[in-house]
């Protein structure tokens, strides 16, 4: 009986030893990791990428330095093509956002974000509709009714065509069955200016872009286009769903991908590394300060999410009047 037990124990340990890679033998980067950022230094994505690198550095999470490299151009396609060309290289990562996902689809390019190795989604930035403080619309319903009476009369500002603002707007219009006059601006800041100056009737803005104007009673939120309400800050703002419009847009993500065909153990290493980055106090502070939602998602799950988001974009692009 005892020998049996002992044999079973030894066997069990042996099997376990084979199944679990011993820490000393796990894959680790051998040389500095190239962290490609498709946008210019100083932009929103660049800052998050550098924040991640700073955390890896300060918390000593990796044995090699991570080097941010801005490969700007072609609306992020230069970076994607570069990364595609690094097939199998375990030392190349690329920052990715919703724009990187949408542009290849709009331009009908052969490569898209699903072709690189999914590593991790860091966070989501919620889309909200805002109106001036003295606007006649008290709820989404008011706005939709007004839009039904006079199609195209409500001017709503947001970022450029093909941006998350534009697609969530398209989704809202199709769900509510109304026509809004979408005015594209080059970025969120310009869209804020337009609504503060009274040049448009409403705007698609992220929480951080509008929260202070809410505090001084210049702007007022009508709803959040997410599955659930915001977890911190403006927790009292109802979702679109609560107001009877099934508009859930959770594709405005920021995350990181790797070179295509990267060895599985390398990918697993980065997934784990990025997970540890998001578990630090520094990251928590960053998330709170910028009012985004922590939404870590790693590896295959993130890949699945990217495919779903691509399908959503394709579906929205096919709607009449969206890609004018």
């Amino acid at each position: 009986m005892r020998t049996h037990l002992r044999t079973a124990l030894v066997l069990g340990l042996l099997i376990a030893g084979f199944l679990l890679p011993a820490p000393g033998f796990a894959w680790q980067p051998q040389r500095p990791v190239q962290y490609i950022v498709p946008w210019a230094a100083g932009g929103g994505s660049d800052i998050i990428a550098r924040q991640v690198v700073a955390i890896i550095d300060l918390e000593k999470l990796a044995p090699v330095p991570f080097v941010v490299e801005n490969r700007v151009g072609g609306n992020a396609m230069v970076a994607l093509n570069y990364t595609m060309g690094k097939k199998g290289d375990p030392h190349v990562l690329m920052f990715a956002t919703f724009t990187n996902l949408a542009v290849p689809l709009m331009e009908k390019l052969p490569n898209s974000l699903k072709d690189v190795t999914p590593i991790a989604r860091f966070l989501l930035d919620e889309q909200m509709i805002w109106v001036p403080w003295n606007s006649p619309y008290k709820s989404l319903k008011d706005m939709v009714e007004a839009a039904r009476k006079a199609p195209n009369s409500i001017k709503i500002s947001g970022a450029s065509i093909g941006s998350e603002d534009h697609f969530v707007d398209a989704l809202f219009q199709s769900v509510a069955g109304v026509k809004l006059n979408y005015i594209a601006f080059r970025g969120g800041a310009d869209a804020v200016l337009a609504i503060l100056g009274g040049h448009v009737d409403a705007a698609w803005l992220n929480p951080s872009e509008a929260v202070d104007h809410y505090a001084v009673k210049k702007l007022r939120p009508l709803g959040v286009a997410s599955q659930a309400r915001l977890k911190t800050g403006m927790t009292d703002v109802p979702t679109f769903k609560e107001q009877g419009f099934d508009v859930v847009f959770d594709s405005h993500f920021r995350g990181v991908t790797g070179a295509p065909g990267m060895p599985a153990e390398a990918a697993a290493y980065y997934v784990d590394l990025m997970k540890r980055v998001t578990q630090t106090a520094r990251w928590d502070k960053y998330i709170k300060d910028t009012m985004v939602s922590a939404a870590f998602m790693g590896g295959k799950e993130f890949g699945e999410y990217l495919r779903n988001s691509e399908n959503l974009v394709r579906r929205l692009m096919a709607l009449p009047g969206v890609m004018k």
């Binding site: 230094a41 609306n75 800041a189 100056g197 929260v211």
Partner: protein, 504 residues
Amino acid sequence: METFEMLMRGFSIALTPTNLFFGAIGCIFGTFVGAMPGIGAPTGIAVLLPLTFGMNPTSGIIMLAGIYYGSMYGGTITSVLVNVPGESASVMTALEGHKMALRGRAGAALTVSSVGSFIAGTIGVVGLMLLAEPVAGFGLRFGPAEQFALFLFAFTSLVGFSSDSRSKTLVAIAAGLLIATIGNDPLSGRTRFTFGSLDLMGGIDFVTVAVGIFGIGEVLIAFEQNYKMEFVESRLGLRNIFPTAQEWAASAWPICRGTVLGFLVGILPAAGATVAAFMSYGVEKQLSRTPEQFGNGAIEGVAGPEAANNSATAGAMVPLLTLGIPGSASTAVMLGAFMIWGLRPGPLLFSKNPDFVWGLIASMYVGNVLLLILNVGFIPAFVRMLRIPFSVLMALVVVFCVLGSYTLGGSVFDIWVMAAFGVLGYLMRKLDFPQAPLVFAVVLGPLVEVTFRQALTMSQGSAAIFVASPIAVTLVAAAGLVLVGPLVWSLRRRAGAAGTAGGT
């Protein structure tokens, strides 16, 4: 007097040894970055940004702000010495300042621009401090239609006040606008005129255009004419470094006008220091009693734009601090820095983080003093650069141009584009086409297009929107006047002359 108290508190923060030190580093680095074509203030700020993560936010922002206005001082240096604008806001300075350098007045041009920048920078900060809140509301009234009307006015003043042929100026503007449409459509995200080239998808940056047209174009002309700069060398004595009383007198009003104009334009969304400098140049040329001097080294054309681009940087801080809206690429990067430190610029910043805001404002006063000392102190050294043998200097200009266009996006393709614009610049010089309007159009093209399309989308296609608000209608009327005015004037004069001739 509350403002005064707050400012004193700000000074007590800005003048601590640590903050003074980081402010000085920022100013020096900014001057350097501004002088290098291709590396502008936004890049400089972004590169030093990670260094500030570990600092206390006030020290960090003092350093970054130092880079920002330091670059406006620095942009002048290469513009004047080698005709390569280091910053888009210094394009006009190259136009007049370099001509002055060829006449041996490089020192005067640099001194006037440093002093002008100092005065404008300081008054700009006073404006920022006292007027931030009321003036922020004024900026907001500029929607797409009003902004477009402003650009329209800027362009027509280029044509109307031009001493070059009007039709050639128009052609140059049209070419610039056309170049600006290459690449990504700023609103639809689609690409245009790229012929499937990935390199062209990002569009053509104005730096490649300006550096090519001014820098390489200049080198090519120099080779052809085989001109030498000996006459410059004989005048490098200390006495010639500083402007004459006459030059000071000529610069005084342009500096004042540039300061006010720059601050107002800086506040407006999207306009910024470059537009301010261009408009100041136009105004000075218009008001000048000797407009024919413009293009041949008129000191007013250095003093006005240089003052304007510095007070515009202070003006651009108004929407950034009060509304959280960046008016330029540099302030956009600074906004990112604020976010990292957990500060959200906007209507609450002044009340929530007074030490930060007032420390920053006080540091801008200190920084301007630092930069004045730094720049005036080094002018003799800068001017001596012109003693470098001409052949070597020209080779250096080429190196500058190549480096500048490469560092932009790290792509060799940009070097070729720059070289092509060099040839274009040469041809334009030979055929007497004005170059500045083309560069101006490349800079403003995307803004003009975006605001025009936004306005028309808002009005659902009706052009009436451009005359629907008092601001827009005033600007459009001014644009019409500027365009038609000189034409009518000259026709009448001609008719008058013909009339008298017929009478006798």
